[in-house]
């Protein structure tokens, strides 16, 4: 048994202990043991992930007696280990944060007992080595997170609705995955991943494509890809923030894992249209997600849509990898996959950080509405600074980690665009344009989030009275913020592990150069050195300060009132709001967003020339939700209403139904 295997075993054991303790122990000690167990799960996962990535050894185990018929098969290869590492890196700080965050409403048995279970499934799903094990763990992950999403259902009615949406979408996704796996198992006659991988070339092209499309639908819904994203902006905001952080940071990435595992690893790639389809879905999700994030004024809804955007960008990388492999560019395909995987890890870190910060803000102000926040940089200095770090990272600014993965993705797409087949010459420039637009809009979105949420004057009494959160919460956020910086400065540290992960998925060569100070991509000749760039920025900063001092600019600052332009006093009502900040871009993209405006003017009774009140309402609905899902829900409801006529309470009628059903069964089964 290797070190990584031991770590994985310890993580599982910790989850079991934490689960039992969460359900059995009294309220106060329950929180301590459950969060401690969760932290241990995360530590074990980080160790196991790093162990496999650094050595390249698989962790394999098989217990035929645990599950009837199939048994449990664990096979953690470097590809899975990358996702295990990403999950572990998020779980530890989240557990520390949860210790401070779980106050009275969140100390229930189910909430505490299922947190370690959810964390453990996040770690074990990528370690599953057979389809049955994978499906059991996947379902356990869905169920435990469903209960956690519903934690605050007593406080807000929106939570119940979110839970139903999440439950339905996750089960539909599960059905798609189940059918895909069933087809694969029936076609090859095996159910372990190793055997299917071996026999996959014997599958017919049509069956392989069916498996691919079903897996893409199932895993894509988990990743929040358009048009299957509708549960995400409902469930992530309503879940408690530490759960949102785990869902958005780690669980959503497993959708990407599933597609990589099935399409690239098990099926060994496919025709060109697979890649184009994944690429198109990725581009659509990225643009749709960021546009809705841009106009959202609920902080957590903004972050949820941004998750759809980021997963879209990950799928752009995956799609490019599939497409490049299909046109016989294996080296570049490996680089594209590496860029996608790097994005998964970076997204896990900064999105978890942002959700934790949003939770800290929501807890101390009682609101998530950006237009009721403001002035938090003074009142919650640590939380607001952490949020700023996460937001600058997600906006792809150097020297933080989002920049590195953005650079890698751009380089890959640009490189691929210069290659011979026309399909690359057309798709890659479009992808670059879309990704660049996404990056620009992401910068605007997060400037809005920082600028209206954290800076300037408080816009509401709640924001005015906000006080900083307890130390464990701040500690959890600080760990993630440091990770943003370290991953941004020395991404080369992970290069060898990333190379193993890509090779485990059938890639070749070393996609990332392994220099610590430099980052270079195989096949793409671009080189950057994030750490030197950061040093240069810092030197520039010090130089400017020094010159300013030397030239006599060192006089103390004077705090004074804003330049007034004739007005008497400055109030928070004069500030630009989140809605007004996004208005120009909303207007530019009104064909996509379809904003709705209502103006009600009430005239005074005496004369219609005098206006008594003006009411203005503006709303932006999710177009896909409104046009595809609401009609479907309406149709289902209509059928449900009709079906009620069947049930009129008469026992005779029910007996007739039973008799009829029996006849039908007999006729059919004969």
């Amino acid at each position: 048994v290797t070190l990584a295997g031991t770590a994985l075993g310890l993580a599982s054991a910790a989850a079991l202990v934490g689960c039992v303790a969460g359900f059995v122990l009294p309220r106060r000690s329950r929180v301590v043991v459950a969060t401690l167990a969760t932290a241990l799960v995360g530590t074990g996962a980080t160790a196991a992930g790093l162990g496999v990535l650094l050595t390249g050894d698989h962790v394999t185990a098989r217990w035929p007696e645990i599950l009837p018929l199939a048994g449990v098969t664990i096979d953690l290869d470097p590809l899975g280990a990358w996702f295990v590492l990403a999950a572990g890196a998020v779980i530890v700080p989240v557990a520390v944060y949860a210790y401070g965050y779980c106050d009275h409403a969140l100390t229930g048995r189910a909430v505490q007992g299922l947190l370690p279970v959810f964390a453990a499934t996040l770690v074990l799903v990528p370690a599953a080595g057979s389809m049955s094990t994978f499906l059991v763990l996947w379902e356990l992950m869905a169920m435990s997170s469903l209960v956690l999403v519903a934690a605050e259902h007593g406080d807000r009615p929106a939570v119940r609705q979110a839970t139903v949406w999440y439950g339905v979408m996750t089960q539909l996704g599960f059905v798609a995955i189940l059918i895909a796996f069933g087809l694969a198992a029936a076609g090859t006659g095996h159910e372990t991943f190793a055997a299917i991988r071996h026999d996959a070339p014997t599958l017919s092209a049509a069956r392989a494509s069916t498996i691919f499309v079903l897996a893409l639908a199932g895993f894509g819904s988990k990743a929040g890809l358009v048009p299957l994203h509708v549960w995400l902006p409902r469930a992530h905001p309503e879940a408690p923030s530490h759960v949102s952080a785990l869902m958005s940071g780690a669980m959503v990435s497993l959708g990407a894992y599933g597609v990589v595992r099935v399409a690239i690893d098990l099926l060994g790639g496919g025709p060109r249209w697979w890649g184009v389809l994944v690429l198109a879905l990725g581009v659509a999700s990225a643009l749709f997600g960021i546009l809705h994030a841009l106009v959202a004024s609920d902080l957590k809804v903004l972050l949820a849509y941004s998750t759809t955007e980021n997963m879209g960008l990950v799928f752009v990388g995956i799609g490019a990898a599939v497409l490049l492999a299909a046109v016989h560019e294996p080296a570049l395909a490996g680089v594209a996959l590496a860029a996608a995987l790097l994005w998964v890890l970076n997204h896990a870190v900064f999105k978890a950080l942002l959700f934790l910060a949003a939770g800290s803000i929501a807890r101390s102000t009682g609101t998530r509405d950006l237009d009721r926040l403001g002035g938090l940089m003074k009142r919650l200095p640590v939380t607001a600074t952490m949020f700023t770090v996460g937001a600058l990272a997600i906006a792809g600014l150097p020297p933080l980690n989002g920049f590195v993965s953005e650079w890698a993705l751009f380089q890959t797409l640009v490189r691929a665009g210069g290659r011979p087949p026309d399909v690359l010459g057309l798709t890659m420039p479009m992808a670059v344009g879309a990704v660049a637009l996404t990056a620009g809009l992401a910068a605007a979105t997060f400037v809005k989030a920082i600028g209206t949420g954290m800076l300037a004057m408080p816009r509401s009494p709640e924001a005015e009275r906000a006080v900083e959160s307890p130390v464990p919460m701040l500690a959890g956020m600080s760990v993630l913020a440091s990770a943003c910086l370290v991953l941004g400065l020395v991404p080369g540290l992970l290069a060898s592990g990333l190379g193993r992960a890509v090779r485990a998925a059938g890639g070749r060569g070393e996609p990332l150069g392994s220099g610590v100070a430099e980052l270079r991509l195989a096949g793409a000749r671009g080189v950057i050195s994030p750490v030197l760039l950061a040093v240069a920025l810092l030197v520039g900063l010090v130089l400017v300060l020094g010159v300013a001092r030397a030239l006599g600019g060192s006089r103390a600052r004077r705090r004074a009132e804003n330049w007034g332009c004739g007005r008497v006093l400055q109030t928070a009502r004069m500030e630009y709001t989140a809605i007004s900040f996004a208005e120009p871009l909303q207007r530019v993209f009104s064909d996509v967003l379809h904003p709705q405006h209502d103006i009600d003017v009430t005239h005074a009774a005496e004369s219609r020339w005098y206006v008594e009140a003006v009411q203005y309402r503006a709303s932006i609905a999710d177009g896909i939700d409104e046009r595809a899902y609401q009609p479907a829900v309406g149709a289902l409801r209509w059928w449900g209403e009709r079906a009620r006529a069947l049930q009129n309470g008469s026992v005779h009628r029910y007996l007739a139904y039973g008799f009829g059903a029996l006849l039908v069964v007999l006729v059919v089964a004969r």
Partner: protein
């Protein structure tokens, strides 16, 4: 790092700092002459800056560390770009630190901080400027990166030194279709990024139209001087980058002091020509309405896209 390389950095950065306000001064003089005014001297921007330097540092109430830090981040990020891009020599020692993507991202870093500083005092003007600036930046970003994509085909690399070197070795590549389309796209995006006409008018303080000036209204004294210096350096860097990507001749390819000196003199000459041309363009251009700006940027995006597809299909 050898002495020659250190010297190259010092020359490039020094050139950018010293010449940037002069370029702005030149633009104003030429504009004034073309409009029949006598106009201020070329060194007037430097005089303004010296005056600002002696003024008091006033920070608005309610602002946080972001407002104080922003002028420093702005200048420092622009200095880093001045060190990375090939101004006087293609053998810039920091060439390996970053490529064109890095330059675009570091520019965005400055833009983001400036927009945050605009929002920080909590005034309506600052928010308005920040909102508009981010709108323009978000829409200019795809053009910039696609144009980079088109140009990087020349050298099979996105590192600037390599691109300029390759252009020196194959002068015909400048006149290719994709190169000319990329030049048009980049020029439009550069005008937007530098807050010049027809996107923004740097010499107005009219609330209906201003973008950049609205964000920096709350800065005073030395802070304002640094912000103004950055704006001027941005203009110089974009101009120099465009010139060297499309007319690179005269630039040094080594770090020999003599070659760098020649490169610097040639660059100053080219910049003067560009400055006169830009001033002439601005005299005959009106600022377009804010909501027409996206259309202009969409045009530049389409042109950049054509450049890339031309690069892929015409070879």
């Amino acid at each position: 790092m050898t002495d020659g390389r250190v010297a190259a950095v010092v020359v490039q950065v020094g050139l950018a700092v010293v010449c940037a306000p002069l370029l702005v001064g030149l633009l104003r003089v030429v504009r004034a002459r073309l409009e029949g005014r006598s106009g201020p001297s070329v060194v007037q921007p430097w005089r303004d800056m010296r005056k600002l330097w002696t003024k008091e540092r006033i920070t608005p109430e309610h602002t946080s560390w972001i407002f104080t830090l922003t002028p420093l981040v702005l200048v420092s990020s622009t200095l880093v770009i001045a060190a990375i891009v090939p101004l006087a020599t293609t053998a810039s020692p920091l060439d390996h630190v970053g490529d064109l993507f890095v330059v675009v991202s570091v520019l965005l870093l400055g833009t983001v901080f400036l927009a945050l500083a605009g929002l920080d005092p909590g005034t309506a003007f600052g928010g308005m400027g920040a909102s508009r600036e981010m709108t323009v930046a978000a829409l200019a970003e795809p053009t910039l990166l696609l144009a980079v994509f088109a140009i990087s085909g020349r050298a099979d690399s996105s590192n600037l030194g390599a691109i300029v070197d390759a252009t020196l070795h194959a002068p015909a590549s400048v006149l290719s279709v994709q190169s000319l389309l990329a030049l048009v796209a980049l020029s439009i995006a550069a005008l937007a990024e530098c807050a010049r006409l027809p996107v923004d008018n740097p010499s107005t303080h009219l609330e209906l139209t201003m973008i950049h000036e609205a964000m920096v209204l709350e800065y005073a004294g030395p802070d304002l001087a640094l912000v103004e210096l950055t704006a001027a350096m941005r203009l110089l860097l974009f101009a120099a980058l465009l010139v060297n990507l499309f007319v690179p001749w005269g630039i040094a390819t080594t770090t020999e002091p003599a070659a760098i000196l020649v490169g610097a003199v040639v660059l100053i000459t080219k910049l003067a020509v560009v400055g006169v041309g830009l001033a002439g363009f601005e005299v005959f251009t009106a600022k377009i309405r804010l909501f027409r700006v996206p259309e202009l940027l969409a045009v530049s995006f389409v042109v950049a896209f054509l450049a890339v597809t031309a690069a892929a299909f015409l070879g």
